[in-house]
Amino acid sequence: MLEIKNMNTYYGNIQALHDINISVKQGEIITLIGANGAGKTTTLMSMSNVVTPKQGEITFLGEQLLTKKPDDIVKMGLIHVPEGRHIFPYLSVMENLDLGAFLRNDKAGIKKDLDHVFELFPRLHERRNQQGGTLSGGEQQMLAISRALMAQPKLLLLDEPSLGLAPIIVRQIFDIIKRINKENGTTIFLVEQNANLALKVADRGYVMENGHITLEDTADNLLANEDVKKAYLGI
Protein backbone atom coordinates (compact mmCIF):
# COMPACT_ATOMS: atom_id res chain seq x y z
CA MET A 1 0.00 0.00 0.00
CA LEU A 2 2.94 2.31 0.74
CA GLU A 3 6.35 2.07 -0.88
CA ILE A 4 9.27 4.35 -0.07
CA LYS A 5 12.24 4.02 -2.40
CA ASN A 6 15.71 5.52 -1.97
CA MET A 7 14.44 8.54 -0.11
CA ASN A 8 16.85 11.30 0.98
CA THR A 9 15.59 14.19 3.10
CA TYR A 10 17.52 17.30 4.08
CA TYR A 11 17.12 20.19 6.51
CA GLY A 12 18.98 22.93 4.65
CA ASN A 13 22.34 21.41 3.85
CA ILE A 14 22.14 18.77 6.53
CA GLN A 15 21.02 15.36 5.39
CA ALA A 16 18.62 13.82 7.91
CA LEU A 17 17.60 10.70 5.97
CA HIS A 18 19.85 8.51 3.83
CA ASP A 19 18.51 6.22 1.17
CA ILE A 20 15.40 5.06 3.02
CA ASN A 21 13.47 2.06 1.75
CA ILE A 22 10.26 1.07 3.49
CA SER A 23 7.24 -0.91 2.37
CA VAL A 24 3.92 -1.29 4.11
CA LYS A 25 1.24 -3.79 3.13
CA GLN A 26 -2.50 -3.37 3.56
CA GLY A 27 -3.65 -4.37 7.05
CA GLU A 28 -0.22 -4.52 8.69
CA ILE A 29 1.07 -2.86 11.83
CA ILE A 30 4.58 -1.71 11.02
CA THR A 31 6.88 -0.12 13.54
CA LEU A 32 9.88 2.09 13.08
CA ILE A 33 12.12 2.16 16.13
CA GLY A 34 15.28 4.10 16.87
CA ALA A 35 16.96 6.43 19.32
CA ASN A 36 16.16 10.09 19.74
CA GLY A 37 17.37 12.04 16.69
CA ALA A 38 17.58 8.97 14.44
CA GLY A 39 15.20 10.47 11.87
CA LYS A 40 11.89 8.77 12.65
CA THR A 41 9.84 11.97 12.78
CA THR A 42 11.50 13.21 9.61
CA THR A 43 10.46 9.98 7.89
CA LEU A 44 6.81 10.58 8.78
CA MET A 45 6.98 14.28 7.89
CA SER A 46 8.38 13.25 4.50
CA MET A 47 5.43 10.93 3.91
CA SER A 48 2.98 13.76 4.67
CA ASN A 49 5.10 16.10 2.56
CA VAL A 50 5.37 18.64 5.37
CA VAL A 51 9.09 18.21 4.80
CA THR A 52 9.80 17.53 1.14
CA PRO A 53 12.38 14.83 0.38
CA LYS A 54 15.09 15.83 -2.05
CA GLN A 55 15.32 12.50 -3.82
CA GLY A 56 13.45 9.24 -3.98
CA GLU A 57 9.91 8.05 -4.43
CA ILE A 58 6.93 7.55 -2.17
CA THR A 59 4.04 5.61 -3.66
CA PHE A 60 0.77 5.35 -1.77
CA LEU A 61 -2.14 3.38 -3.24
CA GLY A 62 -0.41 3.55 -6.60
CA GLU A 63 0.08 7.31 -6.61
CA GLN A 64 3.22 9.41 -6.24
CA LEU A 65 3.14 11.52 -3.07
CA LEU A 66 6.15 13.74 -3.63
CA THR A 67 4.32 16.02 -6.03
CA LYS A 68 1.20 16.21 -3.88
CA LYS A 69 0.33 18.89 -1.34
CA PRO A 70 -0.22 17.83 2.29
CA ASP A 71 -3.99 18.32 1.98
CA ASP A 72 -4.16 16.05 -1.08
CA ILE A 73 -2.29 13.39 0.86
CA VAL A 74 -4.78 13.66 3.73
CA LYS A 75 -7.58 13.35 1.18
CA MET A 76 -6.07 10.04 0.03
CA GLY A 77 -6.38 8.62 3.55
CA LEU A 78 -2.81 8.93 4.78
CA ILE A 79 -3.38 10.42 8.23
CA HIS A 80 -0.58 11.51 10.54
CA VAL A 81 -0.71 11.89 14.33
CA PRO A 82 2.43 13.92 14.94
CA GLU A 83 4.87 13.69 17.81
CA GLY A 84 3.76 15.90 20.69
CA ARG A 85 0.07 15.37 19.78
CA HIS A 86 -0.47 18.93 18.44
CA ILE A 87 -3.91 19.45 19.93
CA PHE A 88 -5.36 22.86 19.02
CA PRO A 89 -5.06 24.35 22.50
CA TYR A 90 -7.80 26.98 22.35
CA LEU A 91 -10.38 24.81 20.63
CA SER A 92 -12.70 22.47 22.50
CA VAL A 93 -12.44 18.69 22.26
CA MET A 94 -15.47 18.74 19.94
CA GLU A 95 -13.93 21.39 17.70
CA ASN A 96 -10.67 19.44 17.54
CA LEU A 97 -12.59 16.33 16.47
CA ASP A 98 -14.64 18.33 14.01
CA LEU A 99 -11.43 19.58 12.39
CA GLY A 100 -10.24 16.00 12.00
CA ALA A 101 -13.10 15.64 9.51
CA PHE A 102 -12.18 18.91 7.80
CA LEU A 103 -12.13 17.46 4.29
CA ARG A 104 -15.32 15.40 4.68
CA ASN A 105 -18.87 16.41 3.83
CA ASP A 106 -20.82 13.26 4.70
CA LYS A 107 -22.66 14.45 7.81
CA ALA A 108 -24.06 11.03 8.67
CA GLY A 109 -20.68 9.33 8.32
CA ILE A 110 -19.02 11.96 10.47
CA LYS A 111 -21.64 11.49 13.17
CA LYS A 112 -21.08 7.74 13.08
CA ASP A 113 -17.32 8.12 13.42
CA LEU A 114 -17.82 10.58 16.27
CA ASP A 115 -19.90 8.02 18.14
CA HIS A 116 -17.22 5.46 17.42
CA VAL A 117 -14.37 7.51 18.94
CA PHE A 118 -16.49 8.38 21.96
CA GLU A 119 -17.07 4.67 22.40
CA LEU A 120 -13.31 4.02 22.16
CA PHE A 121 -12.51 6.88 24.55
CA PRO A 122 -15.49 7.65 26.83
CA ARG A 123 -13.27 10.12 28.66
CA LEU A 124 -13.28 12.40 25.62
CA HIS A 125 -17.05 12.48 25.68
CA GLU A 126 -16.98 13.67 29.29
CA ARG A 127 -14.52 16.40 28.31
CA ARG A 128 -16.07 17.30 24.96
CA ASN A 129 -16.60 20.96 25.83
CA GLN A 130 -13.24 21.45 27.51
CA GLN A 131 -10.42 23.34 25.74
CA GLY A 132 -7.83 21.03 24.19
CA GLY A 133 -4.96 22.75 25.97
CA THR A 134 -6.37 21.94 29.39
CA LEU A 135 -6.43 18.15 28.88
CA SER A 136 -3.88 15.84 30.50
CA GLY A 137 -1.16 14.27 28.33
CA GLY A 138 -3.02 10.96 28.10
CA GLU A 139 -6.29 12.64 27.18
CA GLN A 140 -4.50 14.72 24.55
CA GLN A 141 -3.08 11.55 23.00
CA MET A 142 -6.54 10.01 22.96
CA LEU A 143 -7.86 13.15 21.32
CA ALA A 144 -5.03 13.18 18.77
CA ILE A 145 -5.78 9.60 17.74
CA SER A 146 -9.51 10.25 17.69
CA ARG A 147 -9.07 13.35 15.58
CA ALA A 148 -7.10 11.23 13.09
CA LEU A 149 -9.86 8.60 13.06
CA MET A 150 -12.34 11.32 12.14
CA ALA A 151 -10.43 11.61 8.85
CA GLN A 152 -11.13 7.94 8.00
CA PRO A 153 -7.50 6.83 7.72
CA LYS A 154 -6.48 4.07 5.37
CA LEU A 155 -2.93 4.33 6.67
CA LEU A 156 -2.46 5.81 10.14
CA LEU A 157 0.94 7.24 11.05
CA LEU A 158 1.53 7.45 14.80
CA ASP A 159 4.60 9.28 16.06
CA GLU A 160 5.56 8.21 19.59
CA PRO A 161 2.08 7.86 21.06
CA SER A 162 3.58 6.60 24.35
CA LEU A 163 5.79 9.64 24.86
CA GLY A 164 5.56 11.03 28.39
CA LEU A 165 2.56 8.93 29.43
CA ALA A 166 2.03 6.74 32.51
CA PRO A 167 2.33 2.99 31.80
CA ILE A 168 -1.33 2.32 32.46
CA ILE A 169 -2.39 4.95 29.92
CA VAL A 170 0.16 3.64 27.43
CA ARG A 171 -1.32 0.15 27.72
CA GLN A 172 -4.80 1.52 27.16
CA ILE A 173 -3.69 3.44 24.08
CA PHE A 174 -1.85 0.47 22.60
CA ASP A 175 -4.94 -1.70 23.10
CA ILE A 176 -6.93 0.83 21.14
CA ILE A 177 -4.29 0.89 18.40
CA LYS A 178 -4.62 -2.87 18.04
CA ARG A 179 -8.41 -2.56 17.97
CA ILE A 180 -8.28 0.08 15.26
CA ASN A 181 -6.13 -2.25 13.19
CA LYS A 182 -8.32 -5.31 13.77
CA GLU A 183 -11.81 -3.84 13.74
CA ASN A 184 -11.45 -1.06 11.20
CA GLY A 185 -8.80 -2.80 9.11
CA THR A 186 -6.69 0.35 9.29
CA THR A 187 -3.04 -0.11 8.38
CA ILE A 188 -0.75 1.32 11.04
CA PHE A 189 2.73 2.76 10.87
CA LEU A 190 3.94 3.19 14.42
CA VAL A 191 7.04 5.17 15.36
CA GLU A 192 8.34 4.46 18.85
CA GLN A 193 11.34 4.84 21.11
CA ASN A 194 9.68 2.30 23.37
CA ALA A 195 10.87 -0.61 21.22
CA ASN A 196 9.69 -3.39 23.48
CA LEU A 197 6.12 -2.19 23.43
CA ALA A 198 6.10 -1.41 19.73
CA LEU A 199 7.55 -4.75 18.65
CA LYS A 200 4.96 -6.57 20.72
CA VAL A 201 2.03 -5.10 18.79
CA ALA A 202 3.69 -4.89 15.36
CA ASP A 203 3.88 -7.45 12.56
CA ARG A 204 7.14 -6.15 11.14
CA GLY A 205 9.66 -3.52 12.13
CA TYR A 206 12.43 -1.28 10.87
CA VAL A 207 15.35 -0.04 12.95
CA MET A 208 16.75 3.38 12.24
CA GLU A 209 20.13 4.81 13.24
CA ASN A 210 21.49 8.22 12.28
CA GLY A 211 19.16 8.55 9.32
CA HIS A 212 19.80 5.05 7.95
CA ILE A 213 17.60 1.96 8.09
CA THR A 214 19.93 -0.60 9.64
CA LEU A 215 17.60 -3.56 10.17
CA GLU A 216 14.33 -4.84 8.80
CA ASP A 217 12.55 -7.99 9.95
CA THR A 218 9.45 -9.47 11.52
CA ALA A 219 8.69 -8.10 14.95
CA ASP A 220 9.34 -11.46 16.59
CA ASN A 221 12.78 -11.78 14.99
CA LEU A 222 13.68 -8.24 16.00
CA LEU A 223 12.60 -8.96 19.58
CA ALA A 224 14.97 -11.92 19.56
CA ASN A 225 17.81 -10.11 17.81
CA GLU A 226 20.87 -9.66 20.06
CA ASP A 227 21.81 -6.22 18.69
CA VAL A 228 18.27 -4.96 19.08
CA LYS A 229 18.09 -6.36 22.58
CA LYS A 230 21.27 -4.59 23.58
CA ALA A 231 20.54 -1.28 21.93
CA TYR A 232 16.80 -0.86 22.36
CA LEU A 233 15.36 -3.35 24.78
CA GLY A 234 17.75 -2.72 27.64
CA ILE A 235 18.46 -6.41 28.07
Binding site: S48, V50, D71, V74, H86, F88, P89, Y90, F102, A151
Partner: protein, 300 residues
Protein backbone atom coordinates in the same frame (compact mmCIF):
# COMPACT_ATOMS: atom_id res chain seq x y z
CA UNK B 1 -22.44 67.34 28.50
CA UNK B 2 -22.95 67.89 24.82
CA UNK B 3 -19.23 68.50 24.44
CA UNK B 4 -18.56 65.22 26.20
CA UNK B 5 -20.98 63.47 23.86
CA UNK B 6 -19.32 65.03 20.85
CA UNK B 7 -15.91 63.81 22.00
CA UNK B 8 -17.34 60.39 22.79
CA UNK B 9 -18.85 60.04 19.32
CA UNK B 10 -15.72 61.44 17.71
CA UNK B 11 -13.67 58.83 19.57
CA UNK B 12 -16.09 56.13 18.49
CA UNK B 13 -15.63 57.15 14.85
CA UNK B 14 -11.86 57.20 15.10
CA UNK B 15 -11.92 53.91 16.96
CA UNK B 16 -14.07 52.33 14.25
CA UNK B 17 -11.61 53.30 11.53
CA UNK B 18 -8.68 52.07 13.61
CA UNK B 19 -10.55 48.83 14.17
CA UNK B 20 -11.12 48.27 10.45
CA UNK B 21 -7.40 48.65 9.82
CA UNK B 22 -6.20 46.95 13.01
CA UNK B 23 -8.05 43.75 12.11
CA UNK B 24 -5.79 43.30 9.09
CA UNK B 25 -2.67 43.61 11.23
CA UNK B 26 -3.94 41.28 13.90
CA UNK B 27 -5.34 38.59 11.59
CA UNK B 28 -2.16 38.42 9.51
CA UNK B 29 -0.06 38.34 12.65
CA UNK B 30 -2.26 35.61 14.10
CA UNK B 31 -1.73 33.42 11.05
CA UNK B 32 1.91 34.00 10.08
CA UNK B 33 3.40 36.02 12.98
CA UNK B 34 4.31 38.86 10.68
CA UNK B 35 3.72 42.58 11.12
CA UNK B 36 2.57 43.53 7.65
CA UNK B 37 3.96 47.06 7.56
CA UNK B 38 2.52 47.57 4.07
CA UNK B 39 -1.01 47.27 5.46
CA UNK B 40 -1.40 51.04 5.96
CA UNK B 41 -0.60 51.52 2.28
CA UNK B 42 -3.41 49.14 1.34
CA UNK B 43 -5.76 51.46 3.17
CA UNK B 44 -4.32 54.43 1.31
CA UNK B 45 -4.61 52.64 -2.05
CA UNK B 46 -8.24 51.88 -1.21
CA UNK B 47 -8.90 55.58 -0.72
CA UNK B 48 -7.13 56.51 -3.98
CA UNK B 49 -8.95 53.84 -5.97
CA UNK B 50 -12.26 55.18 -4.70
CA UNK B 51 -11.18 58.71 -5.59
CA UNK B 52 -10.32 57.75 -9.15
CA UNK B 53 -13.57 55.87 -9.66
CA UNK B 54 -15.57 58.65 -8.02
CA UNK B 55 -13.96 61.28 -10.26
CA UNK B 56 -14.74 59.38 -13.44
CA UNK B 57 -18.27 58.43 -12.43
CA UNK B 58 -19.15 61.95 -11.33
CA UNK B 59 -18.06 63.25 -14.74
CA UNK B 60 -20.49 60.72 -16.16
CA UNK B 61 -23.14 62.29 -13.94
CA UNK B 62 -23.92 59.36 -11.64
CA UNK B 63 -25.81 60.06 -8.40
CA UNK B 64 -23.58 60.30 -5.28
CA UNK B 65 -24.85 57.20 -3.52
CA UNK B 66 -24.39 54.99 -6.60
CA UNK B 67 -20.90 56.38 -7.02
CA UNK B 68 -20.21 55.56 -3.40
CA UNK B 69 -21.28 51.94 -3.81
CA UNK B 70 -19.29 51.35 -6.99
CA UNK B 71 -16.21 53.25 -5.80
CA UNK B 72 -16.21 51.30 -2.55
CA UNK B 73 -16.55 47.99 -4.35
CA UNK B 74 -13.69 48.96 -6.65
CA UNK B 75 -11.54 50.00 -3.69
CA UNK B 76 -12.17 46.70 -1.94
CA UNK B 77 -11.33 44.73 -5.09
CA UNK B 78 -8.16 46.67 -5.89
CA UNK B 79 -6.89 46.62 -2.32
CA UNK B 80 -7.56 42.90 -2.05
CA UNK B 81 -5.59 42.33 -5.22
CA UNK B 82 -2.74 44.40 -3.79
CA UNK B 83 -2.84 42.56 -0.46
CA UNK B 84 -2.88 39.17 -2.18
CA UNK B 85 -0.03 40.12 -4.48
CA UNK B 86 2.10 41.65 -1.73
CA UNK B 87 1.90 38.42 0.21
CA UNK B 88 2.90 36.38 -2.84
CA UNK B 89 5.76 38.65 -3.84
CA UNK B 90 7.16 39.89 -0.55
CA UNK B 91 6.32 37.24 2.05
CA UNK B 92 5.75 33.79 0.52
CA UNK B 93 9.37 33.44 -0.68
CA UNK B 94 10.53 34.26 2.85
CA UNK B 95 8.21 31.82 4.64
CA UNK B 96 11.13 29.82 6.05
CA UNK B 97 13.62 32.67 6.38
CA UNK B 98 14.69 34.16 9.74
CA UNK B 99 11.95 36.35 11.21
CA UNK B 100 13.73 39.62 10.49
CA UNK B 101 13.72 39.06 6.71
CA UNK B 102 9.95 39.28 6.08
CA UNK B 103 9.81 42.27 8.42
CA UNK B 104 12.38 44.13 6.32
CA UNK B 105 10.56 43.03 3.20
CA UNK B 106 7.34 44.47 4.67
CA UNK B 107 8.94 47.83 5.37
CA UNK B 108 10.37 47.85 1.85
CA UNK B 109 6.95 47.10 0.41
CA UNK B 110 5.44 49.94 2.44
CA UNK B 111 8.00 52.47 1.18
CA UNK B 112 7.65 51.22 -2.37
CA UNK B 113 3.87 51.60 -2.38
CA UNK B 114 4.02 55.07 -0.83
CA UNK B 115 6.47 56.27 -3.43
CA UNK B 116 4.63 54.56 -6.24
CA UNK B 117 1.47 56.48 -5.37
CA UNK B 118 3.49 59.64 -4.81
CA UNK B 119 4.89 59.39 -8.33
CA UNK B 120 1.70 58.20 -9.99
CA UNK B 121 -0.42 60.84 -8.28
CA UNK B 122 1.03 63.82 -6.42
CA UNK B 123 2.35 64.73 -2.99
CA UNK B 124 -0.46 67.26 -2.52
CA UNK B 125 -3.69 66.53 -0.74
CA UNK B 126 -6.38 65.80 -3.28
CA UNK B 127 -9.98 66.71 -2.50
CA UNK B 128 -12.27 63.72 -2.06
CA UNK B 129 -15.92 64.32 -2.98
CA UNK B 130 -18.66 63.85 -0.40
CA UNK B 131 -20.35 60.64 -1.53
CA UNK B 132 -22.55 59.88 1.45
CA UNK B 133 -25.31 62.50 1.49
CA UNK B 134 -26.29 64.26 4.71
CA UNK B 135 -29.29 62.30 5.92
CA UNK B 136 -32.27 64.37 6.96
CA UNK B 137 -32.89 62.39 10.14
CA UNK B 138 -29.36 63.24 11.28
CA UNK B 139 -30.07 66.95 11.02
CA UNK B 140 -30.75 67.61 14.76
CA UNK B 141 -27.39 66.17 15.85
CA UNK B 142 -25.32 66.79 12.74
CA UNK B 143 -23.25 69.44 14.54
CA UNK B 144 -21.80 66.76 16.84
CA UNK B 145 -22.22 63.60 14.73
CA UNK B 146 -22.34 63.76 10.94
CA UNK B 147 -23.89 61.33 8.49
CA UNK B 148 -20.41 60.37 7.32
CA UNK B 149 -19.49 59.45 10.88
CA UNK B 150 -22.68 57.47 11.31
CA UNK B 151 -21.78 55.56 8.14
CA UNK B 152 -18.36 54.76 9.57
CA UNK B 153 -19.69 53.45 12.87
CA UNK B 154 -22.56 51.49 11.31
CA UNK B 155 -20.35 49.92 8.65
CA UNK B 156 -17.84 48.90 11.27
CA UNK B 157 -20.48 47.29 13.48
CA UNK B 158 -21.94 45.33 10.55
CA UNK B 159 -18.52 44.25 9.33
CA UNK B 160 -17.53 43.07 12.82
CA UNK B 161 -20.67 40.96 13.12
CA UNK B 162 -20.12 39.40 9.70
CA UNK B 163 -16.47 38.71 10.45
CA UNK B 164 -17.29 37.11 13.79
CA UNK B 165 -19.81 34.83 12.10
CA UNK B 166 -17.34 34.00 9.33
CA UNK B 167 -14.52 33.06 11.70
CA UNK B 168 -16.75 31.09 14.01
CA UNK B 169 -18.95 29.14 11.66
CA UNK B 170 -17.59 28.82 8.12
CA UNK B 171 -15.08 26.18 7.07
CA UNK B 172 -12.56 28.81 6.06
CA UNK B 173 -13.04 30.52 9.42
CA UNK B 174 -12.37 27.29 11.26
CA UNK B 175 -9.33 26.70 9.07
CA UNK B 176 -8.07 30.16 10.01
CA UNK B 177 -8.40 29.50 13.73
CA UNK B 178 -6.69 26.13 13.37
CA UNK B 179 -3.86 27.59 11.30
CA UNK B 180 -3.33 30.38 13.82
CA UNK B 181 -3.02 27.88 16.65
CA UNK B 182 -0.85 25.21 15.01
CA UNK B 183 0.29 25.48 11.41
CA UNK B 184 1.85 22.02 11.20
CA UNK B 185 -1.29 20.36 12.50
CA UNK B 186 -3.40 22.45 10.16
CA UNK B 187 -1.46 20.91 7.26
CA UNK B 188 -1.85 17.42 8.71
CA UNK B 189 -5.65 17.65 8.92
CA UNK B 190 -5.76 18.70 5.28
CA UNK B 191 -6.05 22.47 5.49
CA UNK B 192 -4.57 24.27 2.51
CA UNK B 193 -2.53 26.70 4.60
CA UNK B 194 -1.38 28.77 1.60
CA UNK B 195 -5.00 29.42 0.76
CA UNK B 196 -5.81 30.36 4.36
CA UNK B 197 -2.97 32.88 4.31
CA UNK B 198 -4.18 34.37 1.01
CA UNK B 199 -7.74 34.68 2.27
CA UNK B 200 -6.50 36.35 5.44
CA UNK B 201 -4.65 38.97 3.40
CA UNK B 202 -7.70 39.50 1.20
CA UNK B 203 -10.06 39.98 4.16
CA UNK B 204 -7.63 42.29 5.96
CA UNK B 205 -7.12 44.34 2.80
CA UNK B 206 -10.84 44.60 2.13
CA UNK B 207 -11.50 45.93 5.62
CA UNK B 208 -8.66 48.44 5.30
CA UNK B 209 -10.00 49.62 1.93
CA UNK B 210 -13.43 50.07 3.44
CA UNK B 211 -11.85 52.17 6.18
CA UNK B 212 -9.92 54.17 3.60
CA UNK B 213 -13.01 55.06 1.59
CA UNK B 214 -15.10 55.93 4.64
CA UNK B 215 -12.47 58.17 6.19
CA UNK B 216 -11.69 59.89 2.88
CA UNK B 217 -15.40 60.61 2.49
CA UNK B 218 -15.50 61.96 6.03
CA UNK B 219 -12.34 64.11 5.95
CA UNK B 220 -12.68 65.13 2.31
CA UNK B 221 -9.10 64.69 1.15
CA UNK B 222 -6.40 62.06 0.57
CA UNK B 223 -2.67 61.91 -0.09
CA UNK B 224 -0.01 59.23 -0.36
CA UNK B 225 0.99 59.54 3.29
CA UNK B 226 -2.37 58.87 5.02
CA UNK B 227 -1.66 55.15 5.17
CA UNK B 228 1.49 55.63 7.18
CA UNK B 229 -0.18 57.61 9.98
CA UNK B 230 -3.35 55.53 10.12
CA UNK B 231 -1.29 52.37 9.85
CA UNK B 232 0.83 53.24 12.87
CA UNK B 233 -2.23 54.12 14.93
CA UNK B 234 -4.07 50.94 13.97
CA UNK B 235 -0.97 48.91 14.66
CA UNK B 236 -0.82 50.54 18.10
CA UNK B 237 -4.46 49.56 18.63
CA UNK B 238 -3.74 45.97 17.62
CA UNK B 239 -0.81 45.73 20.05
CA UNK B 240 -2.83 47.45 22.76
CA UNK B 241 -5.59 44.87 22.45
CA UNK B 242 -3.16 41.97 22.07
CA UNK B 243 -1.80 41.31 18.59
CA UNK B 244 -3.34 38.19 17.10
CA UNK B 245 -6.64 38.68 18.96
CA UNK B 246 -9.63 39.83 16.90
CA UNK B 247 -11.74 41.16 19.80
CA UNK B 248 -8.52 42.64 21.15
CA UNK B 249 -7.99 44.68 17.99
CA UNK B 250 -11.49 46.13 18.23
CA UNK B 251 -11.15 46.88 21.94
CA UNK B 252 -7.70 48.41 21.47
CA UNK B 253 -8.98 50.53 18.59
CA UNK B 254 -11.91 51.90 20.59
CA UNK B 255 -9.76 52.69 23.62
CA UNK B 256 -7.24 54.42 21.40
CA UNK B 257 -9.95 56.37 19.59
CA UNK B 258 -11.49 57.60 22.83
CA UNK B 259 -8.14 58.40 24.42
CA UNK B 260 -7.18 60.56 21.46
CA UNK B 261 -10.56 62.20 21.24
CA UNK B 262 -10.82 63.10 24.94
CA UNK B 263 -7.17 64.11 25.22
CA UNK B 264 -7.58 66.38 22.23
CA UNK B 265 -10.85 67.80 23.46
CA UNK B 266 -10.03 68.41 27.11
CA UNK B 267 -6.28 68.97 27.08
CA UNK B 268 -4.75 69.95 23.80
CA UNK B 269 -4.67 68.65 20.28
CA UNK B 270 -0.88 68.92 20.39
CA UNK B 271 -0.77 65.95 22.69
CA UNK B 272 -2.96 63.53 20.74
CA UNK B 273 -0.09 61.25 19.76
CA UNK B 274 1.65 61.56 23.11
CA UNK B 275 -1.43 60.13 24.81
CA UNK B 276 -1.89 57.40 22.22
CA UNK B 277 1.64 56.12 22.45
CA UNK B 278 1.90 56.80 26.21
CA UNK B 279 -1.08 54.50 26.65
CA UNK B 280 0.66 51.86 24.55
CA UNK B 281 3.82 52.08 26.65
CA UNK B 282 1.81 51.70 29.85
CA UNK B 283 -0.02 48.64 28.57
CA UNK B 284 3.18 47.06 27.35
CA UNK B 285 4.76 47.57 30.78
CA UNK B 286 1.87 46.11 32.75
CA UNK B 287 0.39 43.67 30.23
CA UNK B 288 3.03 42.82 27.64
CA UNK B 289 0.67 40.55 25.71
CA UNK B 290 -1.89 43.35 25.36
CA UNK B 291 -5.35 43.56 26.90
CA UNK B 292 -6.84 40.39 25.40
CA UNK B 293 -3.65 38.80 24.07
CA UNK B 294 -2.50 35.36 25.05
CA UNK B 295 0.86 35.38 26.73
CA UNK B 296 3.39 33.43 24.69
CA UNK B 297 2.83 29.86 25.74
CA UNK B 298 5.64 27.63 24.69
CA UNK B 299 4.66 25.43 21.80
CA UNK B 300 5.67 21.79 22.15
Amino acid sequence: MEYFLELFLGGLTRGSIYALIALGYTMVYGIIQLINFAHGEIYMIGAFTALIFASVLSILGWPALAIFVVATAAAVLYSSAYGYTIEKIAYTPLRNAPRLSPLISAIGMSLFLQNYVLLAQTSDFLPFPQLIPDFEFMEPISHIFSSAELAIVLTTVIVMLLLTYYIKFTNMGKAMRATAQDKTMALLIGINVDRVISVTFIIGSSLAALGGVLIANHIGQVNFYIGFIAGIKAFTAAVLGGIGSIPGAVLGALILGWTESFATGYISSDYEDVFAFGLLVLILIFRPAGLLGRSETKKV
